[in-house]
Structure formats: structure tokens, C-alpha cells
């Protein structure tokens, strides 16, 4: 990674971004650290280093101005933005986001006005996408839909700053399969704000989705729900970190995945409860079904707790269909293959909701139907 970065950076005529030196320094430090990190055990970072530096502009559409104001970093005073673009403590975990900042030399800023509801959709494109920062003002309600058109290579990052009492619902899908696709989504939550993520993914050539939720304000809460499947030859790596940094914060995560072919699904759910965050409540459940004998599923919850008086529950499982449930369905006249179908679909549907539910159902359930039909040994 370091060698590749050096070559790449040397070739680049980097734009005069105000933050360039900071970002560059961070990038160098973190890319070294990254290669040795446990979190890159199953996915090759170098697949996400681009061959060229084609920059794409994400398509952003709001429900009509002045619902949201889109501006650019280059037109903004830079004070304080550095802090926003990659949270100070944690930025070092995301060298690929720093790389995008450097190469794009710019950042799109979307300001969501306070005290009203806004619908926003973002489409990311192939190549390095200009990073997007969404600032959600106090008491705003934002419904955000994110999709991606990823052909061979895509890198996109999204930063959400959620102010007091604001709430954000964020639905995203990515199902294209022949791509090296990396994404960061980071949300920083203010006092009493809430963030809800619905994430539906399929495997790519290499797909890695990094999600970082920072519960910064007291009584803020995050709810993350997702479903995914990996087909033969596919690779999907989800790295989710929730940082509880304030008292009375709540996080809930529920993810169901299916290994539908000879591919890899990696799920790393990390919960970090910082000092002075009493009465934090963090729940994480990740369940996986291996529908293919050669499906590789790695799931690992990680807990770091530095405050007493917290509630924390996490569970990660990889399993087969329940024999008792199958028998129950069969005993009502439903043939075994159909019973398997019903249970697999139910397993995924438990985690499908929100505005992209139909798209997610179609993409996830079709694949499952095929996988179940072709495997009699569940």
C-alpha cells in the first residue's frame, strides 16, 4: 500500500486544497498503520488504490431549493472543516477517504435547513467521487437515499454532521458485482439527535463498506439495520464502528447475511464506549446463514468499554436453517424446498425496511431463491 501510494502521489499534480498537507500527512501515517491492522485481514487494501485518478461528481438532488444548499469546500473558509472531514481521533482509520480528499481536492457541502423535512438523494459514480459533507441543522428531518453506479472501480465517502434534535434516515444499496468498491459513511450525532441506517448490499469483486457512527451528544441514538448476500466469487466486507462518547446514548444494530455461493462475507461490528458515557446502551446482532457449503463468513463483534453502568449486548452467529421451523412448515404440507425458501426469505426480510425495501427485496431475494433451489444439502 505504501509503495503504491507513493507512486500514485508522485504522479499526481495535487490541487491546492487548503487541507492538503494535513490530509497528506494523515494519509502517510495511517496507510502504514492500516496494512498491519486486523481489520484488513480479509480484504486487500491495494485493490482500492486506483490506477488512474478519474474524479466523479456525485449527483445530488433535493426536493427543490431552498430545501438544501449545495456548495463546495473551495468556496468555504476551511476553519473547522478539517475536523468534520474525518473525525480527528478516527480519521487515521480511513486512508482511502483521505486519498479521495486529496485527489478530488474538493468536497461537496450540502446544508440541510433547520426545523423542516428534506428529502435528498445521492448517486455515486464510478471513479473517485468528490466527498460529500451533509450538515443537518438543528431540529431538521432528513430522509436520504443513496445509490451507487459502480462499474469497475468506485470510491465514495459521505460525512454527516447531525445537529441537536435533528433526525436522519439514511437508506443505501449497492448490488453491482464486478467492481472494486470502497465506501465510507461517517455520522457525527449531536445532542438528542437520531440516525437510522438501512443498508442493503451484495458482494462485489471486492466491496468494503466502512461505517462509523459517533454518538457525540448526550441522548443521541443510532439504529442500523441491514441485509446482505454474497454470490459465488463475491466479496463483501462491512466494518461498522459505533462510538459512544456521551451519556445516555443508544445504538442498535441488526444485520442478517446470506452466503449464497463460494464467496466471502466479512462483518466486523465494533462498539466503543468511551469514558464518561454512563448509561450508554449498545446492542448488536449479526446473524448469517450459510446456504452454500463453500461460503466463507467471518463475523466478529468487538467491544471496548471504558465506562461502568452501561448496557451492552452483542451476538454473532453463522448457522443453518432451524430444523424445528422446517419441520413445522412441512407438517403443514409445505414441501421441504419450499419450506427452505420461506425460511431464507424470512430471515432476510426481518432486516428489510424503509424506502429502498422493494429494491433490496428484489436484489436479495432473487439470489436467495436461486441459491436455495440449487442446494439440497441445507
Amino acid at each position: 500500500m505504501v509503495d503504491e501510494l507513493d507512486t500514485l502521489l508522485a504522479q499526481l499534480e495535487l490541487p491546492p486544497l487548503l487541507l492538503a498537507d494535513d490530509v497528506r500527512a494523515r494519509l502517510r501515517a495511517s496507510s502504514v498503520a492500516q496494512t498491519t491492522r486486523e481489520s484488513w485481514k480479509y480484504t486487500q487494501l491495494k485493490k482500492f488504490v486506483p490506477n488512474d485518478v478519474a474524479v466523479s461528481e456525485p449527483t445530488i438532488s433535493a426536493d427543490g431549493p431552498p430545501a438544501a444548499v449545495v456548495s463546495r469546500l473551495s468556496t468555504q473558509p476551511s476553519d473547522g472543516l478539517n475536523r468534520h472531514l474525518g473525525d480527528a481521533d478516527s480519521s487515521s482509520r480511513f486512508p482511502l477517504a483521505d486519498l479521495a480528499l486529496l485527489i478530488a481536492g474538493d468536497c461537496l457541502i450540502v446544508d440541510i435547513p433547520s426545523d423542516r423535512e428534506t428529502d435528498l438523494s445521492i448517486t455515486f459514480h464510478p471513479g473517485i467521487n468528490v466527498p460529500v459533507l451533509i450538515r443537518v441543522a438543528a431540529r431538521a428531518t432528513l430522509r436520504l437515499q443513496e445509490t451507487v453506479v459502480a462499474s469497475e472501480f468506485a470510491n465514495h465517502s459521505l460525512y454527516l454532521l447531525i445537529d441537536e434534535d435533528a433526525s436522519v434516515e439514511h437508506a443505501r444499496t449497492a448490488f453491482t458485482s464486478h467492481c472494486n468498491h470502497w465506501s465510507l459513511s461517517q455520522a457525527v450525532l449531536g445532542v438528542r439527535s437520531s440516525y437510522k441506517l438501512q443498508q442493503y448490499l451484495g458482494g462485489g469483486n471486492q466491496r468494503r463498506y466502512e461505517t462509523q457512527i459517533i454518538l457525540d451528544g448526550r441522548e443521541s441514538n443510532a439504529s442500523l439495520t441491514g441485509a446482505y448476500r454474497v454470490h459465488s466469487g463475491g466479496h463483501l466486507d462491512q466494518q461498522i464502528t459505533v462510538e459512544h462518547r456521551a451519556p445516555d446514548t443508544l445504538s442498535e444494530q441488526r444485520f442478517h447475511g446470506i452466503g449464497a455461493g463460494k464467496g466471502s462475507a466479512i462483518f466486523n461490528g465494533r462498539i466503543h464506549i468511551h469514558p464518561d458515557s454512563p448509561r450508554s446502551n449498545a446492542q448488536l446482532s449479526n446473524r448469517n446463514l450459510a446456504l452454500h457449503p463453500d461460503a466463507i463468513i467471518n463475523t466478529k463483534p468487538e467491544l471496548e468499554i471504558y465506562t461502568d453502568d452501561v448496557k451492552c449486548a452483542h451476538g454473532a452467529t453463522v448457522g443453518q436453517l432451524s430444523a424445528d421451523s422446517l419441520f413445522y412448515l412441512q407438517s403443514r404440507g409445505i414441501a421441504l424446498p419450499a419450506a427452505r425458501q420461506m425460511l431464507c426469505r424470512a430471515f432476510i426480510r426481518e432486516c428489510i425496511e424503509g424506502p429502498l425495501a422493494d429494491i433490496a427485496s428484489e436484489a436479495l431475494l432473487d439470489e436467495i431463491t436461486t441459491a436455495v433451489a440449487s442446494n439440497e444439502s441445507l
Partner: protein, 248 residues
Amino acid sequence: MSLLEVRNLEVDVDGKRILKGLNLTLEPGSVHAIMGPNGSGKSTLANVLAGKPGYDIVSGEVIFDGNVVNETEPEALAQAGLFLAFQYPVEIPGVSNMEFLKASLDNLHAARGDAQPNAVEFMKTVRSIAAELDLNPEFLKRGVNEGFSGGEKKRNEILQLLLLQPKLAVLDETDSGLDIDALQVVADGVNRFRSDTNTVLMITHYQRLLNYIVPDAVHVLADGVIVKSGGRELAEELEARGYAWLTN
């Protein structure tokens, strides 16, 4: 012809002999009760009859409606008209009761070569049965047995019985965990199911249920065999004396 004939049935579970030569004959339209202490093999018998995997029939035969069904798959048994009301019905989140009931009925109709019930008729039937059983029709939208109380689960079993109209209903401790009102509702449902041809095998630990559903015959199962058979009065005798005099 008998509807069910169990001949000298020996069954192993996990390599351990649980049923040890059990005989039982049910004529069409009859109601039989099987009583017995905990662990005597009552649920094992019910599960074997319903074709549950993992039960090894070592010897003997089960003949249902004229066919030997020792090796028959559970779905085929259901399609042939056998129904098991489970002692512990499972919860299946993500499959709605509605979807489940429709799939069951469609499969049973298809197996019999009957036309598929249309969706409107189906809904009407299900709702009216639910009403009779005091089940809020909202339950249809929820996952199968998901979040149901013990009593609701048992009532849902009876709802399926009345909807699917099998030839033989095996009720495994359908009365356990029910209060008196719920017991009455469930018993009414079973009594409605009874007919000249519909047959019931009631498994129970207590004779209480038999006050509501009066059986034609009572059998006592102990340690994997039927140790005594009789009429209704046998249940009352068991109530008074317990099982010990039969098992020692």
C-alpha cells in the same frame, strides 16, 4: 378399515429406545386419549406419526389410511390428511401467519387435486375461524406465532386444524398452559372438528381436558408402551390414583 394402525412400534431417539412396542388402532370418527407421566414417550409418538426427522423406527409399522408410512416425509403425511398440533409451536419471524396459512392450504389442495381457494374466500374463512377462537385477526399480519402467548400459540394450532381439515388430528398437550376460558375455546374448536369421519388422538397429562372433549377410549402410556386401555372412566381413575399403580 382403520384410519391409523400402529403395530408393535419401537423407536430410538439418539440411540436410546423410547417407544418399546406400542400398539394403537383408531377407527374413523373416534376420539382417543393418550395419558401418561412426563417422559413416557407421548410427544415421541406424536412426532413419529408426523414424520419428524431424527426418530429411528427400529421395528413395527405405522399404517395411515391404508398405507405404511414409516418412511413418509412430513409434508406427504400432511397432504395425506394427518395433522399434529404441537406441544411447543415454534415462532417463525419473517413468515406472516397469513402467508403460512395460505401456503399450507394451497399445498394441501394441490396434493388432493382440488382447486386453489381464492384469496377472498380464504380470508373470509380464516377470519371467521379466528373469531370463533377469540384470536384478534391482526395476528394474521404478524410472524408465525411470533410474540404469541402460550395460549395464543395453542389457539393458532386449533385454527390451523379447523382450516386444514385433516382426517386425523394428533393433539400434543394442547391443553397445557391454558386457563379455563382458553381451554373451553380450544375444546369447542376440537369438538367442532369432530365428525363421523374426522378422528382425534388427544395426548394429555391431565384428565381435565377430557371433561371438555369426551373420548371414546383412554390409553395409558408408560415407559414407551401402552400399559392399560379403557373407557372414559379410566381417566377418572387416573385422576384419583395417579399413575404409580400402573407403572410399578
